[in-house]
Amino acid sequence: MSLPLRIPTPARLGYSFNWAGRIGLAVILFWVVIALIGPWITPYAPGDMVDWNYFGPVNGQFWMGTDYLGRDILSRVIMGARYTVGIAAAAVVLACAGGVILGMIAGVTGGWFDMLLSRLLDAFNGIPSLLFGLVVVAAVGSSIPVLILTLAVIYLPGSYRFARALAVNVNTMDFVTVARARGEGFGHIILREVFPNILGPVLADLGLRFVFIVLVLSGLSFLGLGVQPPNADWGGLVRENIEGLSLGAPAVIFPSVAIASLTISVNMFIDNLPTRIRDRSE
């Protein structure tokens, strides 16, 4: 029989999510599924002009109406999920993976390495996120890899700071001292002693950072600096169709609702996590 490393899951500790948390989780999963299967379920090709009537109304043929060129909004929102969710997820995973790895190393080693890295990344934190995005896009132009990398770089320092604070906390605990006194190496201490104990808060932090990234990405696209036409993420869809507002067209409403439903759901889910998991020691 093996001795498994068991992580305390909510169910095992007797937690249950309340209704707000469950709704949040359901909406998040819904958008993830849409993003994954998007190309197979769009009723029309998202780039095709299918209606002669631009800013067309909601009807049986076009469930969400048509946009300023007469393209099907439903199809474009479904494809937009791919961009928004995909780019944000990739960026947040990069940011948090980098931040957590560096944060744990700095938190456990301490000394000059910690000092230098912390100062440097704090300085990067001193640049407002949307501004940094603007500058980079101005310099190198906008493409999906650039967006992902830029967003990841923007949010890495925050993730680093968070993970480092947690790791410093865990590092002072006696079980880490015991492991060290046993003669354990750096790798064992980071992977087996520290990491499992910061995982819960780190995942909660990842959720919150995902929201920020979605917001900044949408903001960039809204300014015309995000995903470039003819493709569009949700922020881009809002930009394209915002003029329809004065004509009373519904086109702009659906991408807006999509963004809000995703971000509010993530916030709702995180807010209703059991305190012990969410507990932030920052």
Partner: protein
């Protein structure tokens, strides 16, 4: 109040850190814009330019020198107020910025004046009557506002105040600002939008800071002395939450920076942010650099100020 020497030492240290941060930030801004784009001269002259013309322009602009030398001369220029020349319209960046900066500062100032009292009142009240109807309503509203992009708040504000209610003009400039009423109306939309965005953050952080102090043993002690809820919060919790609240205010005001970029674009407000977004479209690098530095410096100032206030309000450092 008297402060001990250690407090001032800590404050000095904090200011030193801010200065170092500023250097690193300017480094980042400079190299992000200068090194990455390939060749500025080529961009400026367009694709049809002859190689000789490009080379001539490069020499004229000093682009042949090593990047670090250019960084130092750029930094020296900044320190003397020489922000360089705009590529796009051959005007001094400083002249382009002057009027715009005043506009943005005016907008930010008005928003701050509205936000801080509003958010502190709501945040403290929500913490004081935790779990009450007011608290839950404020929490719902603030979480909704921080969950949606700034442009959506702006759009909703336009829909409600300009389209449905028809109280206010949707754009702030272009209307005549000849009377006080007209001016108020002109500023109203951007201010309302930014107030929502900024105060939502501020309320949440203030509430969290106050609740944290309410959960301390000395506030429980006040309860056991027979103090009323008002007294517990105002006399015992608040003075100790001052540092965290100052931090909350500064951090939320820094959302002004991101918010102002969107809001100035949406409402066509002639501020620095709008200038910068336009400069990005024309790839006018000196202008972008200067705008970015203005935002970074104000952001840094706010954060540093909050840290210093937090230090000064720490009773343990009192003499």
């Amino acid at each position: 109040m008297l402060r001990s020497a250690t407090t001032w030492l800590l404050v000095g240290q904090r200011l030193g850190i801010a200065a170092i941060t500023l250097v690193i930030v300017s480094f980042a801004v400079f190299f992000a814009t200068e090194l990455l784009p390939g060749d500025v001269a080529e961009i400026l002259l367009g694709q049809s330019a002859t190689p000789e013309a490009v080379a001539g322009l490069r020499t004229a602009m000093g682009l042949d020198e090593p990047a670090f030398t250019r960084f130092l001369s750029w930094l020296a220029g900044l320190a003397q107020g020489d922000l360089g020349m705009s590529y796009a319209n051959n005007m001094a960046v400083a002249d382009l910025l002057a009027g715009r900066l005043a506009n943005t500062l005016r907008l930010a100032g008005i928003v701050t004046l509205v936000c801080v009292p509003l958010a502190l009142t709501l945040g403290i009240a929500a913490a004081m009557w935790r779990g009450s109807l007011l608290d839950r309503a404020v929490s719902m509203l603030t979480i909704s506002v921080i969950s949606v992009p700034e442009f959506m708040v702006a759009t909703l504000a336009v829909l409600i105040f300009a389209v449905w209610l028809d109280w206010l003009p949707a754009l702030s400039y272009g209307v005549n600002v000849d009377s006080l009423g007209a001016m108020l109306r002109a500023y109203a939309m951007p201010v309302i939008t930014l107030t929502f965005v900024v105060s939502a953050q501020m309320i949440r952080m203030t509430r969290a800071a106050v609740i944290e102090t309410i959960n301390t043993p000395y506030v429980e002690m006040a309860l056991l002395k027979g103090a009323s809820r008002r007294r517990m919060v105002l006399r015992h919790a608040l003075p100790n939450a001052l540092g965290p609240i100052a931090n909350a205010v500064a951090l939320s005001l820094s959302y002004l920076v991101g918010g102002v970029i969107i809001v100035e674009t949406v409402f066509n407000y002639p501020g620095v942010a709008k200038l910068m977004v336009d400069a990005v479209a024309t790839r006018d690098l000196p202008l972008i650099q200067s705008c970015a530095m203005i935002f970074c410096i104000s952001y840094l100032l706010l954060i540093t100020l909050a840290d210093v206030i937090a230090m000064l309000s720490n009773p343990r450092l009192r003499r």
